[in-house]
């Protein structure tokens, strides 16, 4: 019954979205307040019905209602509760429902917090947002309905893929989707502004929080996915340049570019048409990402939704929205005249450089991801583009970005002096060079990767610190530091996070130690400076799996460091084995142990890695997200968003 109600609520939400798409748009065109006012209640009702529908599906998963086809295919009664819940979006239909739920969530949020928006702009934004919703509601209802029943329900389900039964991965898709779909808001604002024919500083201020929120979610989502790959897949890799990963990385790069160019629109009323174009492209890449994952164009063995027919529908949605918006852009972009004047050396120019590097690096990822398809169709060559290509083609842009970042972040608006800014940053430069030199002398292999990464990391972090100190002035530093706007703190923290991540990736890649051997029971061996011994291997069972667990004692210079328990699991329902690496997390290194198969000699294959600075990769991502959050909580957005709050709460009153 609840399932049917959920289905019905979804259809209702679809209908409401159609109304919300059409009526406010006509209303805004003819300046009819009544018609425009339809958008707000419609957006909220659409969200409530979609949320109910999603809740109904989740209920079916939680209660293990195997008469629902989707539940029977993707769940099992013995599965832990967390994974019953996350199973709701661990499949194609459910994840598309989550997608559309987030589209309507953002629409509803805009209707609630958009009090300060001009009525016509608001009506148009909500109308465009509803149009995106309509496309995906239709897609779900007509091609991927999650509420279908089975005539003969089975006794038990077929279980969720065991690899997905993991806390990291349970929350990876929702964050990623919040990011992808958050960009739909920037898209809606861009299209609405094109229809309106007007972009000003206020528009930049409204667009930025949405982009920032989307970017924060994307950052967390990507970090979660990469962390999961690191500990779950058994060889400690964290980024593989897989098409599906690239699909999430491209919108992240463009969102980062967009949130920087929106600053220029907000502060200086320049770069308007470029910002609009970026907003369209960023969401376009979100749709391309969805298409790549859902269609199986590039990864034909993707476990779910490898259905060309559905892929074609998503391709059509992609073509209509991106193509339509670009056409509109071509027709109307001329109307966006730039106002601000600035010289070659200025914050504006630096932000242009930032956008240029981010956009071109996104382009490189895009070309590399699609090249195998192009080569096969156009040149009849079957070839691969894998990690070695991206490792060669992508980092140069990031190095350039990292070198320019601290300088650009401190250049004044309108007109700056490069030499003066460099002089302010002299301690950062000295520190970066010293760190690079230290890294060079300490490493045994003479590769450039480690020192360059260390130098960039130190440079960016010290640059961010210098920027903050500079702002705080000379006297009474501490209290003035504390009173800096949150946006300034956010900028420094996010930039420092990027520095930390760059350093960690370079350090881990350059300096990790690997050991592969047959480990016999109670026979000590040495990896790096650690003494390890496999003391026992036991069979056991968990809630829905069987396990073979090794016990590894680790010591260093005679004192105990850790006891590690690497596992091999078999999930009998899904008939799938998984490896659970045992990791000793420390601040400066991870000790990563994987248990392999039993050998005829009685020993076990064992792989041990010492991974320096591994945690810092995700620590840096967290810092970036935190910086975004700080910036998002800046007072000017609350004021701009029209939320009436006592100003005294925004800044400490003196």
């Amino acid at each position: 019954m609840i399932t049917e109600l959920g289905h019905f609520a979804l259809i209702l939400a679809f209908m409401i979205a159609i109304v919300q798409m059409v009526v406010p748009l006509i209303g805004a065109h003819n300046r009819w307040p009544g018609w425009m006012a339809v958008a707000e209640p419609a957006a909220q009702a659409q969200f409530l019905f979609t949320a109910f529908s999603f809740g109904a599906l989740m209920w079916a998963f939680v209660t293990s209602d195997f008469s629902v086809r989707l539940v029977a295919l993707n769940s099992h009664s013995a599965k832990p509760m967390l994974y019953k819940i996350s199973g709701t979006w661990g499949n194609h239909e459910g994840s598309m429902l989550l997608w559309v739920l987030i589209v309507s969530l953002f629409g509803a949020t805009a209707s609630v917090f958009g009090g300060g928006l001009p009525p016509t702009l608001k009506a148009r934004v909500l109308s465009v947002q509803a149009a995106i919703g309509v496309a995906f509601f239709g897609f779900i209802l007509f091609t991927s309905n999650p509420f279908l029943r089975l005539v003969n329900p089975p006794f038990d389900g077929q279980d969720l893929n065991p690899l997905l039964q993991d806390p990291g991965l349970a929350f990876h898709p929702p964050f990623l989707y919040l990011g992808y779909v958050g960009l739909s808001m920037a898209f809606s604002f861009a299209v609405a502004a094109l229809i309106e024919g007007r972009v000003d500083a206020a528009w930049g201020r409204w667009v930025r929080p949405w982009t920032l929120a989307a970017w924060i979610f994307l950052t967390i989502g990507i970090a979660l996915g990469s962390w999961w790959a690191y500990y779950e897949l058994g060889w400690g890799g964290f980024w593989f340049w897989d098409p599906v990963e690239n699909a999430s990385f491209m919108p992240w790069l463009l969102a980062a570019a967009l949130l920087h160019s929106a600053i220029v629109v907000e502060k200086r009323e320049s770069l308007k048409s470029w910002t609009i174009l970026l907003a369209i492209l960023a969401f376009g890449f979100s749709l391309i990402g969805t298409f790549i994952v859902r269609s199986g164009l590039l990864t034909s063995v993707h476990a779910f939704a490898n259905d060309p027919e559905r892929g074609v529908v998503i391709l059509a949605i992609l073509a209509v929205f991106t193509g339509g918006a670009l056409l509109l852009f071509a027709l109307r972009a001329q109307a966006m005249e730039a106002k601000g004047v600035f010289s070659m050396v200025s914050r504006e120019s630096a932000l242009v450089a930032n956008n240029l590097l981010l956009a071109v690096s996104c382009f490189v990822v895009f070309v590399g991801t699609l090249w195998p398809v192009v080569a096969e169709m156009a040149f009849d060559r079957k070839l691969s583009v894998g990690a070695p290509f991206f490792d060669a083609a992508f980092p140069p842009f990031m190095v350039a970005l990292g070198v320019l970042l601290p300088i650009g972040a401190m250049l004044p608006w309108k007109r700056g002096k490069g030499a003066k800014t460099l002089w302010t940053l002299r301690y950062g430069i000295a520190l970066a060079l010293a760190v690079a030199g230290l890294a060079w002398t300490m490493q045994t292999e003479k590769s450039l990767l480690g020192p360059v990464g260390a130098m960039l990391g130190a440079w960016i972090v010290s640059g961010a610190a210098t920027d903050l100190l500079q702002r705080a002035g000379r006297s009474d530093r501490l209290s003035r530091l504390m009173r800096l706007p949150r946006a300034d703190w956010g900028k420094a923290v996010a930039h420092a996070g990027l520095g930390v991540t760059i350093f960690a990736i370079a350090g881990l890649t350059a300096w990790q130690t690997e050991d592969i051997r047959v480990a016999n029971l109670n026979e000590p061996f040495r990896v790096g400076s650690y003494d390890m011994v496999l003391t026992s291997v036991e069979e056991g069972r968990g809630p829905n799996y069987f396990t073979t667990m090794g016990v590894v004692e680790v010591s260093r210079n005679g004192s105990k460091v850790a006891t590690l328990r690497p596992e091999k699991r078999v999930y009998p329902v899904a008939q799938m084995p998984t490896t659970e690496a045992a990791i000793d997390y420390r601040f400066t290194r991870d000790l990563y142990v994987v248990l392999g198969d039993a050998q005829d000699s009685g020993g076990f294959t064992m792989r041990t890695y010492i991974k320096p600075f591994a945690n810092w990769i995700w620590g840096g991502c967290l810092l970036m997200a935190l910086g975004g959050l700080l910036s998002l909580s800046d007072r000017r957005f609350r004021v701009a968003a029209g939320v009436r709050k006592a100003p005294a709460r925004g800044v400490p009153a003196e």
């Binding site: 790959a229 060889w235 106002k339």
Partner: protein, 155 residues
């Protein structure tokens, strides 16, 4: 979800074969040769997997290829000869890092070309902004306003 396909396939193959990426018995005595073999393996694709190098893969075929690479190196091949040997037999599909031959120059040049193009456009734009509205010093004031501002500032 990201690595799901690869992982699920890898796991599927794992259940078929007991191998698990590079095995202790594959490792060569000579550490220099082994090092070369590892770095070559990272650039060769496991043909039955998706986007996975033979160095990471658990498939039997990947193991065969790893052994083949080591065989060639032990036989005295240079890195290029060993890779060519494998490409001759399995096609350029095994190369994770595509060559620059034929139309592939487009792939390799795409980034740098785009960068140059974007730089040109950006420079033109910046120059326009720097000279817009009659000189970089302009601040949007008319001449009268400018004169009045000077007067005020004089006081």
């Amino acid at each position: 979800m990201i690595r799901f396909i690869k992982a699920s396939l890898a796991i599927l193959l794992l259940s078929l074969s007991p191998a698990y990426a590079v095995q202790p018995d594959e490792v060569l005595e000579d550490p220099v040769l082994e090092e070369r073999a590892r770095s070559l393996s990272e650039g060769l694709r496991c043909l039955v997997c998706r986007n996975e190098s033979i160095d990471e893969s658990n498939a039997d075929l990947a193991r065969d290829l790893r052994l083949l690479v080591r065989e060639r190196l032990v036989a005295g091949d240079s890195d290029e000869e060993a890779v060519d040997f494998i490409v001759d037999r399995y096609g350029e599909y095994v190369l994770l890092k595509p060559t620059v031959r034929g139309a592939n120059w487009i792939l390799w040049a795409a980034g740098p070309m785009m960068l140059v193009l974007a730089l040109l456009i950006a420079l033109l734009y910046l120059r326009k902004r720097a000279t817009a509205a009659g000189g970089a010093e302009s601040n949007g004031l008319t001449e009268d306003e400018e004169a009045r501002l000077k007067e005020i500032l004089k006081d």
